[in-house]
Subunit: 332 residues, 2 copies
Amino acid sequence: MVVGRKWILKHHFDGEVTADAFQLVSEELPPLKEGEIQIKTEWISVDPYMLPYTKSMSPPMTMIGSSVALVEESKNSKFPKGSSVISYAGWVERAVLNPETKMRTMPMCVPAPALPPGMNPSLLLGACGMPGNTAYFGFLEICQPKAGETVVVSGAAGAVGSLVGQIAKIKGCTVIGFAGTDDKVAWLKELGFDHAFNYKKVSVKDSLSHAAPKGVDCYFDNVGGEMSVSVMEAMNKFGRVSVCGAISQYAEAKNNSKCILPLCVFKELKVEGFLVPRWLHRWQEGIMAMAGWVAGGKIKARETIMEGFTNTPHAMVGLFKGTNTGKMIVKV
Amino acid sequence: MVVGRKWILKHHFDGEVTADAFQLVSEELPPLKEGEIQIKTEWISVDPYMLPYTKSMSPPMTMIGSSVALVEESKNSKFPKGSSVISYAGWVERAVLNPETKMRTMPMCVPAPALPPGMNPSLLLGACGMPGNTAYFGFLEICQPKAGETVVVSGAAGAVGSLVGQIAKIKGCTVIGFAGTDDKVAWLKELGFDHAFNYKKVSVKDSLSHAAPKGVDCYFDNVGGEMSVSVMEAMNKFGRVSVCGAISQYAEAKNNSKCILPLCVFKELKVEGFLVPRWLHRWQEGIMAMAGWVAGGKIKARETIMEGFTNTPHAMVGLFKGTNTGKMIVKV
C-alpha cells in the first residue's frame, strides 16, 4: 500500500494568503491502470498567479501548481519509470495520474526537457520553465524592445522580473528595477540592472526622473496599482506595457489609484496583458534560449528554496509577503 | 480698421468646465503681411480633448480648437480670397494668420476638403473631419473588428461614438452603445445600434449580460473610469480596447474604480490609446471614406448646433454636461 500526501485548499483566501487555508491530507493511492503513472514530487513551484486563479475555482480542492517529479511506477511507455516530468497535478507529494489528461490549458504531465549538464532540475520551474518563458515571450513579444530604449520592471526581484531585466540587458536596453527590500535592490545591481530602487523608501516618480531622463519606453509590469500609474506617467509616446501580473491588486477589490486610461490616450500607450500558454507552440524555443543564456552565464537564476513538503503553504505565504528573492520553490 | 474678437481662456478649469473661465476680447487686426490671410470663422468645433489639452498649456491664451473659416483677404496664393479653410487658430471670430505656421502637430490652416454636393461644411468638423477620422482610424486600426464580433461603445451618442457604432454596423458587428439620456438611447437605436442603454438607469454589467451573451470583443472607450472596468469585465479573451478618451476622468485626479490591469492579464486584453494625428498621412483617405458613407446614407451625422460666437463657452460647458447629441458645434 502506497500513501500519498497532498495539500487541500479548504476555501478561498479572505483578502490575504494565510497557511490555515490549507489542509494536509493523506490517502492510499489506487493501483495503476493502463496509461497511468505514479509520480513522486521533487520540486514544487509557488507562484503569484495561484491567488487569482483559485478565485475562479471551487475549493475544497487539491491546490494547483506545477512541479518537477520522478516517475516511480509506469504503465505508460511515453513516461518510463525513472524519468523526470513536469507535472501540473498540484501540491501532491505522491500521486497516481494519467499524464495525458488536461489541466485546463496545460497537459497533466510532460517529459522534463533535458537541461545542459550541471543545471539543477529546479530550474525547470524557474528560468528554464514557465517563469522563464513568461519573461522571454511576455517581454520580447509584447514590449518589442529596441537597443538603447529604457525598460522598467516592477516586482524586479521576483522569478519573472529578474529574468526580464537580464534579457533586456542582453538586448542592449537601459534597465531600471523596483523591488521591496534593500537586499533585493543590491542583488538587482549585481545582476547588471542599471538602476534599482526600493519602492518602499523612494518615490517611483523621483526615481524615474533621475534614472530615466529620456523617459520610459517599455514597462514590464508584475505589480499593478499605484506603482504602475507612476511608471506610465513617466513613459514616452508609443510606450509598450506588458502586463504580466498585478500582485498588488489580487487581494483588493478596489483601490484608489488613478485611472490609467487618460495616460493611454495622451501618450498613445499600448497596454497588453498575457498568459504564457499563448506561446505553448513555441515553448521549447523559449526554454532552450533561456537555458543557453543560463549555461553561458548571461542570465543568473536565483532561487529561494524552502525545504519540506509540509512547508509548501508557508512558501506561498512568504511569496505574497515578498520574502523570496528570485524564484520561490519548495524542495520536497 | 478691422476688429477681431476672440475668446481667451483666463485660467485652468478648476475641476469642472465653467463659462467664467473665458473672456471675450476685441482687438484691431494687423495689416496682412506677405504669406498671411485674414479669416472669418463660420463654424467652431467644441470637443472633449480640449479639457485635458489645456491642462498642459499656460493660460491666459486664445482658446484652442478647430473651425471652418472663410478666407476674407489673402496674401497667400495657396489660400485665395473666398476659399474655405480648416483652421486650428482656436476660438477666433476673425484673425490674421500665416496658414503655414504649425499649431503643435497640426498646420495652422489647410484648404477645406471638397465635400459631395449638398453636404453642410460643418461636417468638416464632424463626420468628415477630425471626429470622423478619430472614429474611422481609431476603431478600425486599433480594434481590428471582424464581422460577427460584439462591439461596445461608451459615450455612444457623442460625435465620435455615434460614428464608431455606425462603422461597426457597416462591418457586420453587433453593436451596443451606452449613453446618458433616454433621448440619446432612442437616437442610437434609430442609427441601427443593436442595443443601447442609459448607463444612468441600468447597470453596465446587467445590460451586457443580456445584450452580449457571447461576451464583448471590441470596446471603443470615450469615457474611462468605472464604466470601462465593467465593460472590460465582460470582454472575451484577446479583446481589443481602443482608448479614444476618458471624459469621466479629465476633471478628477483620483477615482476609486478597480485597477484594470488584472483584467488585462487574465483576459489577455490589448488596451491601446491613440491620438488621431497618428494617421495624418492617411487623413484624406479617412475623410473620403466617411464622406462616401454619409453621402450614401450609411452613416447619419447629427449635430447639436449653438448659434453665435458669444455662445462658444456655453457650448463647451454643455459638452461636458452631455447636453449634445452627436457633434457639438457653434455656428458663428
